[in-house]
């Protein structure tokens, strides 16, 4: 049994300690925001926050998560009440197919939590591990800037 804090509440997962966090999130905890893309830490669709950092949840085993804080895109807000990051992505219409977007948002969230006014260059560098096949990169860039503005005002 592995216990950790998920989006502000403690959860327990009964699975092998080598199980990837992504599988625990999707199959055991029924949070489907984080996506399975490659399973090899090469695409970023599964990105969540572990403590303060963005990580590939497909490559983080449950044993690494025990007792720590995990935040997924569901922790940023809901469909009815989107948080600032989600609002910014909606307003910039930054999603096309949307598969990469939860990962993009979580990596951007980790960036904004340590740097509240990143430059274009800093956003590009931070989001480099996350791939988007639709090509909405310029909108994602604008959305992250917009989110930074929202968070400052808040």
């Amino acid at each position: 049994m592995t216990a950790f804090n998920l989006n502000g509440r403690v959860v327990q997962v009964d699975a092998d300690p080598a199980t990837p966090l992504l599988y625990a999130l999707r199959d055991h905890l029924e949070l489907n925001g984080a996506k399975f893309g490659c399973g090899l830490g090469q695409c970023g669709a599964c990105t969540v926050m572990l403590d303060r950092e963005a990580v590939f949840s497909c490559l983080v085993p449950l044993s690494a998560v025990a007792g720590r804080h995990v935040k997924t895109v569901e922790g940023l807000g809901s469909a009815d009440e989107p948080g600032p990051m989600q609002r910014a992505f909606i307003e910039e219409q930054a999603a096309q197919c949307g598969y990469c977007i939860p990962g993009m948002m979580m990596r951007a969230q980790a960036l904004l939590e340590r740097n509240d006014a990143p430059s274009d260059e800093e956003i590009r560098r931070a989001l480099a591990p996350n791939l988007c096949r639709c090509g909405t990169h310029m909108r994602i860039l604008r959305a992250v800037h917009r989110a930074a503005g929202f968070m400052k005002k808040a």
């Binding site: 990837p20 990580v55 044993s63 690494a64």
Partner: protein, 425 residues
Amino acid sequence: MRWALAIFAVVVAGIAAFLAFAWRPALDPVAAPGRDAFDPQLVARGRELAAVGDCAGCHTRPGGAPFAGGVALATPFGTLFGTNITPDPKFGIGNWSEAAFRRAMREGVARDGRHLYPAFPYGHFTLLDDADIAALYAYFMTREPVNAAPPEHELAFPFNLRPLLAGWKRLYFEERRFQADASKSAQWNRGAYLVRGLGHCGACHTPRNRLGAEHKHRQLAGALVEGWYAPALNEASPSPIPWTPEDLATYLATGIAERHAMAAGPMQTVTHELGRAAPEDVRAIAAYIHGTMGPLTQAREARARAAIDLARREPSAAAGSSVELRDARLRLGKALYLGACASCHERGRELSSGGALELPLAVALYEPEPASLVNIIRDGIQPPPGETGRWMPGFAGAFNEEQMLALLTYLRTLAPGAPPWQDLE
């Protein structure tokens, strides 16, 4: 009073004598020769040689203007910054004559007479012949001039006093050219010339003494440098499978040798540059290094067999059963390995295009220090900006300290015959 005066006089005379000993003349500035002054073939040769020397490693910042300097080099004495070696007359070497360039390479003295810090490896470059220095000069004098100064060196007293370098040189530096060994092949001699000279492999792979000089009698014995372990290239080579000259040449030119290692850290720029060097020079370097690693011994062959045997089985199953995972740390390490590493390095190797190293063969697991392995796990491996190449994600945020220790402890069990790392905490 008279004694005090006498002592003062002796001290002043001593300082004056030392300054006279340390003094080197400035060489006259020249007008930058310009691009047309050099034979394009000489420039092309210079380009290949600059790749062998990995000049860019210290003189080009990642993503920065070529050879404009600014790369930080952390040393025990402070931080040095690579200088601007573009032909800009003010901030670079635009007003250096070829004679001034030659003196810098062979004696470690700048055009204006200042002693250069031995981070610029003139202890190696002094071996270069006239023709190679002329080619390098032609190459650098035909680069784009960059009108900017890199940051000033940040050195602690007294290392910031350049005249003292004259004393350092007296102790540790000898000006001399390469002497060929007639009993060895032309390729071996070419390799020796490049490894000991322009390639300055020893600058990282040879341990240094407290004053930063390479140990003469521990050539290529492996050393910690810039937070990485530069592995031994002598008989103590940690590679479980003995290197062949072919594998070495492939590694040096591409940054990856499937049965050994993938270049990371400072070595990544070295291999990136060597990919642009003359292939016959890379083969000569490989042949020479293969020689310094010494002959195949029975012990080495046994180690290779054990490593290959473990790699051919499912390593986590095999290693797990032999270690019995007697303590909690190893159990945690194995769970982390299975969830984080095995999906590319073991069960998933074929899915991940087979590109990930088989860890029981990976040199980093066998090194006497875990420094390089820690860096690779933490930061991953990425190709240089704008280049394609193999890629490993970093796990910096994924593991806390205890988990990292557990993973390192477990990974070491995948290296048959390697003793546990001590003092991991």
